[in-house]
């Protein structure tokens, strides 16, 4: 895929929506097109998080492995989602397995390359960090809600609907 096509895809991806064109031009230098077959892993827990992914098509499952229970599916991601922020935070290691549930098309962004560009262009770094902060906030809120187990067994209802 040539640079022009990659740039077009980046501009259209929800995660980078409205990022200034010159910053898109910078980011595209760290981008590559990737395709994963169903069952293939995009990342493995504990491995070096040297990239993150902008999902274009397909479904990805975030999983954590438990010795007793095997793989536990925590969340599924799909078109328009972003996968991975470990590339920003030392020691740059993945915290989850990410498994393709279907054929997945994604743009991979090289973490080391992008960190270098963010270090030399703080405005780009700030813009990207704000976007990742939003994703982190959403995932944190989701995790909180998941932990509450709102649908768990409960006492006799005040009204039987919830």
């Amino acid at each position: 895929m040539n640079i022009e096509n990659l740039e077009k895809i980046l501009v259209e991806h929800p995660f980078l929506k409205d990022l200034p064109v010159d910053h898109i031009g910078t980011v595209v230098g760290c981008a590559s097109n990737r395709v994963f077959a169903a069952g293939e892993f995009l990342s493995r827990e504990g491995e070096q998080a040297d990239q993150f992914f902008l999902l274009r098509e397909g479904r990805v499952s975030l999983e954590v492995h438990s010795p007793n229970a095997g793989a536990l599916r925590i969340e599924t991601l799909t078109d328009g989602d972003v996968l991975g922020w470990s590339w920003i935070i030392e020691p740059y290691r993945w915290h989850f397995d990410a498994r393709a549930l279907t054929r997945v098309r994604a743009i991979a962004l090289d973490g080391k390359c992008l960190r270098g560009k963010c270090d030399s262009d703080h405005e780009l770094g700030w813009r990207l960090l704000r976007r990742f902060a939003r994703v982190m906030e959403q995932r944190l809120q989701s995790t909180r809600l998941q932990l509450v187990d709102v649908y768990g067994r409960r006492k006799e209802p005040a009204r039987e609907h919830a």
Binding site: Q141, K155, R159
Partner: protein, 295 residues
């Protein structure tokens, strides 16, 4: 007097007194269990018909008081088609002695029915707008009449979006209907579960994770939300982030309802009685109260 709902809502306000010329709202009407269908491992749907005469019409979002003779009386949301006049449908999760007794009633058995009670979903005020129905767990049951209504009056509404979350795949209600609704023109149904095994290939994540899958037009969206209260608070946060205003967000509240007509005070919620002023209320009215721990 209860406040008037915004946007010309069709909210029915039930007077504490018996409707003039109507049945006494405190006296149960005998009804017969016509059919019992198991929905999930802990949830059943009951079809109930009158022993004689017709049932009073209901609006989507209203509830009945169902009396299991000699056991208990329970407030149960109506989950069937509002166009049906000969039977009333209730989906009940068995979580204790009273609900277990209700779902354990054999077909043909008599129960008592009072109501319908309460303020319904604003389906009339929402004409011409997109409907965003967000349900958690058994909260899909009180929203199902809205779907029946919207499908029967399809041209009166824009897009119909259904976001439904449950604890696990085995807790999903109305699975066949969900996929049927998803095939209707302009209807989008997305489901997710909090915990999915590896064999589950659908979405995993709480219901709020579905928001990023559906582009909203906040200025023309009416959101109707029903589920556990914590879930509804998170959902409201997402809706506000996406620009949906407090007059366009409607929640179905749950409190300890006993009389159904605002007399006994058991279901008081701030200045409101949930059975009479609700259960469906606009978020603008609820906002000052929903995060108060004492309420």
């Amino acid at each position: 007097m209860p406040d008037t709902a915004p946007r010309g809502s069709s909210a029915v306000v039930v007077s504490p007194a018996a409707p003039r010329g109507g049945p006494d709202p405190m006296i149960p009407v005998p009804a017969r269990i016509l059919k019992v269908r198991r929905e999930t491992h802990d949830t059943w749907t009951l079809e109930v018909g009158p022993v004689e005469g017709d049932l009073l019409p209901f609006a989507p979002g209203q509830f009945s008081m169902l009396y299991v003779l000699g056991v208990a009386e329970l407030p149960i949301s109506i989950s069937g088609d509002p166009a049906e006049t000969r039977r009333r449908v209730y989906t009940v999760r068995s979580v204790g002695a009273a609900t277990a007794a209700l779902v354990g009633q054999p077909e043909g058995e008599c129960i008592g029915v009072r109501g319908p009670f309460g303020a319904p979903w604003p389906v009339e005020a929402a004409r011409g707008r997109d409907l965003l129905l967000i349900a958690g767990g058994i909260g899909l049951a009180p929203l199902r009449p809205v779907l029946y209504h919207a499908l029967a009056h399809r041209d009166d509404y824009g897009r119909v979006l259904v976001l439904y979350g449950a604890r696990s795949p085995r807790d999903l209600l109305y699975r066949k209907e969900l996929s049927q609704w998803g095939r209707e023109r302009g209807v989008h149904v997305l489901t997710t579960v909090d915990y999915g095994g590896l064999r589950w290939t659908g979405n995993v994540g709480v219901v709020t994770t579905l928001f990023r899958r559906v582009p909203l037009d906040p200025g023309r969206t009416t959101a109707m939300v029903c589920g556990p209260e914590i879930m509804m608070r998170f959902v409201v946060g997402e809706l506000e982030t996406r620009g949906v205003g407090p007059d366009d967000i409607w929640l179905s509240m749950e409190r300890n309802m006993k009389c159904g007509i605002g007399l006994c005070g058991h279901c008081q919620f701030g200045p409101m009685f949930v059975c009479r002023d609700g259960p469906v209320l606009p978020y603008r009215r609820l906002r000052p109260w929903v995060t108060r721990h004492e309420i």
